[in-house]
């Protein structure tokens, strides 16, 4: 039941060209920094990435854009990234934009073994084009499919050797659902403890969903919008 691997390179060693991977995080908050760096080192190409955002030019998924490792990006918002824009406009990169709640729920559906979900998000918009639409109780819904992915890469605050995970603050975001949804799920954590050290009532992601876990190193945790107030 020990799922600990020594580092990111070992954890991602079988992620291959043209695979589909999910990456947790919202903006740069709660992203699997170590795994992303390892993917850049490994140089796998043709990846389809499912993640709420695409990072910034020099950080997060942006690092893999720079090295042109991505074939397709599935996200809800992709601003703040000049290289992304360049690749998109030049046709090098395929992009599928989907509503954030649809993204979250399609990931949840995968983790919960549900083939589709129905959501009202996007009804009457171009998001609805080509999708099955159906009325329930007088309201229109779109049918959206669960995401299938080869790997899910998530970042947690604490984890144990069985793969149980605890997230911190808004760094939780998409991570718990993606942890549930990956065919293989890799978790990187800031604090790794022995099984039994986490309170079983406080675990956000039970270890059954996690296949590999490792202690992450040198977290940068960049802040996108540093907003502060002055002390009075």
């Amino acid at each position: 039941m020990n799922k600990v691997v020594s580092n990111a390179d070992e954890a991602i060693k079988d992620i291959a060209d043209n695979m589909t991977i999910m990456l947790g995080g919202f903006g740069l908050c709660g992203i699997p920094e170590n795994c992303i760096n390892a993917l850049v080192r490994k140089g796998v190409r043709g990846l389809t990435c499912i993640s709420n955002n695409a990072g910034v030019d020099e950080f997060g998924i942006g690092l893999m854009l720079k090295t042109r490792q991505l074939k397709k990006m599935i996200a809800s918002y992709v601003g703040e990234n000049a290289e992304f824009e360049r690749q998109l406009l030049s046709g090098e990169l395929e992009v599928e934009l989907i509503p954030q709640g649809t993204l979250a729920t399609r990931v949840l559906a995968a983790g919960y073994g549900m083939p589709v979900i129905f959501t009202p998000a996007g009804v009457g918009t171009e998001v609805a084009i080509g999708k099955e639409q159906r009325n329930f109780n007088g309201k229109e819904y779109l049918m959206e499919y669960a995401f299938d992915s080869d790997f899910a890469l998530v970042k947690a605050w604490k984890g144990d050797t069985h793969g149980n995970l605890i997230f911190r603050e808004t760094a939780r975001n998409f991570n718990p659902m993606m942890a549930m949804a990956g065919r293989t799920t890799i978790a990187e954590v800031e604090i790794l403890v022995e099984a039994g050290e986490l309170d079983p009532d406080q675990i956000h992601t039970p270890g059954i969903f996690v296949h590999r876990i490792f202690l992450g190193r040198n977290y940068e945790k960049r802040i996108e919008q540093r907003t502060v107030r002055k002390k009075v």
Partner: protein
């Protein structure tokens, strides 16, 4: 005529005690500063927080604690964190009482366009489509006319839609307008703005019933 602060102040008057409120980026964010005294309101940030507090003091920024605009924030007593699926679950299930967001265009039937301009780089809809598709009450905060001087209150949106028949109220620098089954309905004028000015700035059908009061904002 209102400035952005004025628009935010006027919208704040729509808030009721006990509301759970989701604030979009831009003017909507400012609304948090003008919640009437004594009212208890919980701000939802769709990236996974109920009980959003003010910006942190300098030096106390926490990279794990941001809002949907990716700004560093704080919590308040009673805050709760959760994942994105639950966040949009509560939005979809209409647990959020009020959603305030910006728009590029609103139609007289309540359609809204605020995510895409053909020919320009498209950044994505983020959570906007989910919010407008499910919110109990949506108030739009925006300028009445665009930079080219064209009305943003239209018979029909020209830009790609974010959602249909969802906007209930619009607050602009000129007016407060309800979206009714009959079309836009003028409710209040901004200080110093005439009814005629508002009529001229509104391309969609605008209902004007009798004398329109001037809004009161402190």
């Amino acid at each position: 005529m209102l400035d952005k602060t004025g628009i935010a102040k006027r919208i704040a008057k729509e808030i009721r005690d006990g509301y759970y409120v989701n604030l979009g980026i831009g003017i909507p964010t400012l609304v948090a500063n003008y919640i009437p005294r004594g009212m208890k309101v919980v701000l939802q940030s769709e990236n996974g927080l109920l009980g959003m507090g003010p910006f942190p003091f300098e030096g106390e920024e926490d990279p794990d604690l941001i809002n949907a605009g990716k700004q560093t924030i704080t919590t308040v007593p009673g805050s709760a964190f959760f994942d994105s699926a639950m966040s949009f679950g509560m939005i979809r299930a209409r647990k959020v009482d009020l959603t305030i967001l910006g728009a590029m265009e609103v139609s007289e039937t309540g359609d809204i366009a605020n995510w895409k301009i053909p020919g320009k780089m498209v950044k994505g809809m983020g959570g906007a489509m989910d919010l407008v598709a499910s919110a109990k009450l949506i108030i739009v905060a925006m300028q009445h006319v665009n930079k080219a001087g064209e009305s943003k209150l239209l018979p029909k949106c020209e830009l790609p839609l974010t959602g249909v028949r969802c906007v209930r109220k619009i607050v602009t620098e000129l007016a407060v307008i309800d979206v009714t089954h009959q079309g836009f309905k003028l409710i209040e004028r901004a200080p110093g703005v005439s009814t005629e000015q508002i009529i001229n700035a509104t391309a969609g059908k605008l209902i004007v019933h009798g004398e329109i009061p001037e809004m009161i904002i402190d």
